[in-house]
Symmetry: C3
Subunit: 201 residues, 3 copies
């Protein structure tokens, strides 16, 4: 697909939509957003001014991507994921809190790195860094950084295992694992996972 | 009501909408969906091609019903319930994961049986079977099958009691209960609940 | 701003919208709703007949405010908060449950008091009272009343500390605290927090 596609009911105010990217029904993308190529953004989404989204990103329905959220290439955002960008939220219209909202210093950025997946209904606290090719389990509340290739689950989300680039869970013998789906090989060392070879026999 | 009702702002692409069914504002029902009679589907919902929904189903606002989800007669889906149909999600556009999305083998179906209720904000992992007349508590994360008439709560959701067909909690004496609302009688045996009589005096 | 603003794609059926209030894209406000002055209601929201909302309230995107929910002045409702108004939900169309829905006695009201904040993705069980200037942490499941100025977190939400009117966490010496942001002073007594002076030197 060469062109981007915008559903007739969607409201897209930016011009920075990459080739092959599709934006579906009742979604709203504000001016000042930049979205890469070959993305898919489901129905009822909202993307706020200032957001940068890479290539090959999938955003399922009902997501809101606030200013300060950065989604790198190949990220998956499940349905109803909730992002935040403020650690001490109050109504900016409340007289007791309005001084804090006079500038943008309250805004705490979040990055979701290449190939990571955020499971359905996850809640992301402002300021976390989600490592490459990690997976956040459905319904988890993410309050801390997520290591690359790790699987985190729960409230608060805690490490429970490791996942392959393709998304499958890895099973270890000693500190070595080979994905039983795509055959990629990994080595675990000092609490981190390293890929041994991209496509192994 | 003889006819179905579709709100002027809703987008309904299927013809298979039963009599008396109403679909509200900003909702999107795709082609290839079949919905029974006398259902009510709130605002901002999305129903994907392939979904089958029974009669007398209530779907509150902001729900997404994916391909592979089956809602039987009389089911209640509270607001913001999150369904899933993939246990190892990745962006299908991510080169490391795209092979898995070449066919539909990744899709794991979920069934919600007759008269069950899914509480507001619940998250349903792909593959669970929700028993007849059970209730999932608000905000619960459902990772396992739910027994008929059981009440499950928490993250992960665990059995906490039993509910009547009418939705009320049941209080037991030995292994017998009589609903204090609708007077139906139940007997508990081997970890399952059986109805003794439908309308008892 | 003197006038209210209604986005062209929003559907607003009430006339009771206060001055300076803005309602954004794809939101639906029913007839019989009353909203005060200077509020901000994000995209993809739904506000049901019967709801009363105070002044200076911020409702982020994707929220549904049901009949029975009362939001007082200066409340913040984060993205994807889930409210409820029924403790034993069933599909009202289900023959076994329909008798209960013949009148409105099933409806259990919820109040969020002045200046309180409901964090993103929180789930509010019907019937709770959320105290003035309290904060509900993101992703929390609120099953009990929330004390004024308290911070509650978790599933179920439990008290974890205290917050200032401006939203900052308070750090105590003995039973006294002074906000390190806005300098307001507080005294803790018998499990409650009292403000000592509004703007202290």
């Amino acid at each position: 697909m060469d062109e981007s596609y915008i559903h007739p009911t969607a409201l897209v105010e930016t011009k920075q939509i990459g080739k092959g990217t599709r934006i579906w029904a009742f979604s709203h993308v504000m001016d000042g957003v930049a979205i890469g190529t070959n993305c898919n953004i489901g129905d009822h989404c909202f993307i706020e001014s200032g957001v940068r989204i890479g290539d090959d990103v999938t955003i399922k329905n009902g997501n809101q991507i606030w200013d300060g959220i950065r989604l790198m290439d190949g990220v998956f955002v499940g349905p109803h994921v909730t992002f935040t960008n403020d650690l001490y939220p109050r109504s900016p219209r409340l007289v007791e809190a309005s001084a804090r909202y006079a500038d943008r210093k309250w805004l705490v950025p979040t990055t979701v790195n290449r190939g990571a997946s955020l499971g359905a209904g996850a809640v992301m606290l402002a300021g976390v860094n989600v490592g490459e090719f990690s997976t956040v389990g459905a319904g988890s509340i993410v309050t801390k950084d997520v290591a690359p290739h790790s699987l985190v689950i729960g409230n608060p989300a805690r490490p429970r295992g490791w996942v392959c680039r393709c998304g499958q869970r890895l099973i270890f013998q000693d500190d070595r694992a080979r994905c039983n789906k795509c055959t990629r090989r990994f080595a675990r060392q000092d609490g981190m996972l390293n890929i041994v070879d991209a496509i192994a026999g």
